[in-house]
Amino acid sequence: MHMGDHSADVLNGVTERRSVVLDESALDDWFRDGMSIALGGLATACHAMVAVRHIVRRRLKNLTVIGSAVGGLDVDLLIAAGCVRKVICPYVGAEALASIGPFYRAAAEHGEINVWECDEGQYYTGLQAAGQMLPFLPCRGGVGTSFPEINPDLKPFTDPVRGETLLAVPAIEPDVAVLHAAFADGYGNVQFVGTGYADRLLWRAATRTIVQVERIVSNEEIRKTPERTALLASAVLRAPYGAHPFSSPGFYLEDRAHIAELVEAGRRFARSGDRQPIEAYLTRYVDTAPTHVDYLEAVGLRRLFSLDEYTR
């Protein structure tokens, strides 16, 4: 049988499907100074904290952080550690547990970070533009407001079809999206318990996506419910309790005492410039806990077990 050159190229010797499961130590290769990083989850749930703590531990600099639409204290922690230059998301906080992230507030008020002011509609429009490989998409929300004046990237223009004034929202293009989900197989097929918030949109917008999961399951398990597969990850990290101190639907609730410790450290800093509490926090939970297992040990099994959704 004749084989052309083309077929020879195709038969490059790869005969096995490649696993995308990462070892935690390989996270180093994924993040560098100045990157644009999208963080999944929402508010007090499902932030990819193993990856976030990894970034904090390395004290990466000048990051553009695209928080979730209701950005959590994952963003606040990165700001506390001095990793952030620019924040793109409509909110940073923990709702009733902290109406605004204290480090975010202080850094914004002192001009130490650049806040790309937007509402959720504008934020999602920018991500959608990135996902569609468009330079911008139009948005109506913001017409008549101060947004274009505060954030000159939001440009009013006359729509050539109907003559309306709309805002052009430029594509928000994450270099990498960092998500936390319930399950994935070794090939990167990710399934959520719950809706997954807007994580699928972050995946669509980003160049590459890392997903930490509560449990890595078999490909056969994924194939039982293929309609539930939400996205295909570039890399998968095994991370039980990996959203802690935030909740992970189907697994555990947010750890309110731990969140309060972080918030209190932020409030101390905001009130008096005292960094001692946050430095103590970072030492205990990040710098002297070089791996996720070390972190979980620092938090303690008793605490982790108390976070069950339905038994208390």
Binding site: A43, E95, Y104, A108, Y124, G141, G196, P249
Partner: protein, 262 residues
């Protein structure tokens, strides 16, 4: 004989009576009064309402009690839900919300119902007070059938002549066609609900007007606590109180935890 209605119960009842059966209502989380108003309307006279609380759509007409949950992402809220949606679809697809009712909070509100959640100060990059940000209010308030401004404080620092920044358009510079001129399809703010009073908007100028005062509050008090000149009609009624049936639903089914009585 049950205890008299609290101000928060009065505010919730006002909201409830302004919502009709068949309407769709969007409520965020940790907003006990707004949540209670929407649920009271649903259980009292709105069996066909679509009630969205955070990401859940619920119908509780035959459900005895719905517990309050504090956090947006509390997955256990699904116990009361018949639908559970992801965040970006709820925000993105405004066409499906064009007939719905929404609520907007604010750090500042001006005489035409424009409002600010961004922060206080002159320089947006050096705010004196960084606010929570607009969340989804800008986009939602541009499109929904009508919205209500809701604040927990009625004072001259909230009701200001001019907002430092506008994150949500009310009636812009005033006039009944103000929103149409901006191309905003939504119906704009109908009422502003505060712990002292209900405010509405003059039909022509769309300037804010005193609609009713809550029990125990005087017209002069509202005027003094408002930082711009409010239109005050010659007679201002009291905000009406919940009746026995409404109070029973509020206390028994909507708010058994007593958040509105605290």
């Amino acid at each position: 004989m049950s205890a008299p209605a609290t101000v928060k119960e009065v505010m919730a009842t006002f909201i409830a009576r302004d919502i009709t059966d068949g309407e769709e209502v969007f409520v965020g989380t940790n907003l006990p009064v707004i949540r209670a108003g929407a649920l009271l309307a649903h259980l009292h006279h709105g069996p066909n309402m679509r009630v969205m609380i955070a990401h859940t759509r619920t119908n509780l007409y035959h459900t005895p009690v719905m517990e309050h949950f504090q956090l947006l992402t509390d997955w256990r809220a699904g116990r009361w839900a018949e639908g559970y949606f992801n965040d970006h679809e709820v925000v993105f697809y405004q066409k499906s919300r064009r007939n719905s009712v929404f609520f907007v909070g604010a750090l500042q509100i001006d005489a035409f119902g424009n409002s600010n959640l961004i922060g206080l100060g002159k320089d947006p990059h050096r705010l004196i007070l960084r606010g929570p940000g607009a969340i989804a209010t800008t986009t939602n308030a541009s499109h929904v059938r009508r919205f209500y401004l809701y604040v927990n404080e009625h004072s001259p620092r909230v009701f200001v002549e001019r907002c430092d920044f506008v994150s949500t358009v009310g009636w812009a510079g005033g006039g009944a066609d103000a929103r149409r001129r901006l191309g905003l399809p939504g119906g704009g703010p109908r009422y502003c609900i505060t712990p002292l009073a209900i405010l509405d908007f003059d039909e022509q100028s769309k300037r804010m007007r005193l609609f009713s005062v809550h029990p125990g509050v005087s017209v002069d008090q509202v005027r003094a606590q408002t930082g711009f000149e409010l239109i005050v009609p010659s007679t201002v009624p009291l905000t009406s109180l919940p009746n026995a049936e409404e109070l029973a639903i509020l206390r028994g089914r909507v708010d058994p935890q007593g958040l509105l009585r605290a």
